[in-house]
Subunit: 226 residues, 2 copies
């Protein structure tokens, strides 16, 4: 029975790894489509969504069956609860990559902005690395790596605020840029959301390994002692 | 043992109901704070976030303990898996209400726009009703009500697109409105996300009751038969 459980666990991990790598590639192709004005890259993002959606349902179903069949407890159950949540975050990362592609498709129909994409490629690289490392941390049960992902989220927020600020100034100085700058603001927001989902995954990994819930830790500390 | 399980299930439901009603109130107060220029209403949203975060952790912990202790199968397990996901969606709805309040706080520091809030109060009412009905559908295991929530999501998307369009025109015709119109665009986006989370909850209810996964149904139908 234990070996069956471990086989099922390995199978589940490999599906989540595959889904993580698909989601990461979608983020990459969406921003590449925008920066290289490459419609084929954007189309690949829309195509990949079907596979992600199929995996989303399959992984949920696997988790359900493993819990029903093996009745796991303690760390095995924490692993399965983390898998359910990570599955949902990966699906939402893929959704956000689709949103980036939709916004990018509109931008490709308009002339290039003179001040090009600002820090958006950097935001994309950071978000991708966070997605990749959060999944690696999950597979290796690596708390240290998960903590690094959580810390990197501040950097992404800072880049987004800076991009918002610069794009708003651009709109104000030249009203012909409004539609394009707004498209980039929405894309920066999508990338920030991707980083947030990677952070959620990293927090789930920490809970899975340590059995300790670090979510909302800052706010909890801010509350007076009971 | 069965009675213990049912007591634990009722306790969990009442916590999720409470969290749902908190999240709905936060959405209401955030938009009220904006439309009535009422800072106290916005502050109540920030305050309520602590309670939501506490409940988020408590509910996850309850689900974990019920599964570990009662080793549920079939519809009982589907109920618990739905609870885990609904908990996470409610926490994100509350997060979005906080985002609305943050954007609203900036807007209150600026003069009112002549063309006021457009359809944003209507978007708020629709999103609130979706949150409320999705949780009612969960507690009553009401598939019909859950389906109605899923259908109403299109209406919210339509209102958001219209608001985006009108606000972009406003920016283009009068550059002094750019910062305020952008704030409203972000708020419209937050409300659309709230409706999306309510839709997720409704889909989880349908899965819980029927054991049938309707997520991504449209895309699945679009794929060629295997």
């Amino acid at each position: 029975m234990r070996r069956h459980f471990e086989d099922a666990e390995d199978e589940l991990k490999s599906r989540l790894l595959h889904m993580g790598s698909l989601a990461e590639t979608m983020v990459h192709e969406a921003v590449r489509g925008l920066s290289e004005r490459n419609v084929a890259a954007l189309d690949r993002v829309f195509d990949a969504e079907h596979e992600v959606n199929r995996l989303h349902i399959e992984i949920d179903d696997r988790c359900f069956k493993i819990i029903a069949l093996h009745q796991p407890a303690a760390s095995d159950l924490r692993f399965l609860m983390a898998s359910i949540k990570i599955n949902s975050d990966l699906e939402r990362i893929a959704d956000q990559a689709v949103n980036v592609s939709e916004n990018a498709r509109i931008l490709l129909g308009l002339p290039r902005l003179e001040r090009q994409l600002l820090d958006i490629p950097r935001m994309c690289d950071l978000a991708k690395s966070m997605v990749k490392d959060s999944i690696t941390a999950f597979v290796r049960k690596d708390v240290e790596l998960a903590r690094q992902v959580v810390e990197r989220d501040n950097e992404e927020d800072k880049l987004k605020s800076q991009a918002f600020h610069e794009l708003m100034q651009l709109m104000q100085s030249d009203s012909s840029t409004i539609q394009r700058a707004l498209g980039l603001i929405l894309i920066a927001r999508n990338l920030e959301r991707i980083a947030d989902h990677a952070t959620n995954i990293a927090e789930d990994v920490i809970f899975m390994v340590l059995g300790k819930d670090i979510r909302h830790a800052a706010e909890q500390e801010a509350l007076p002692p009971a």
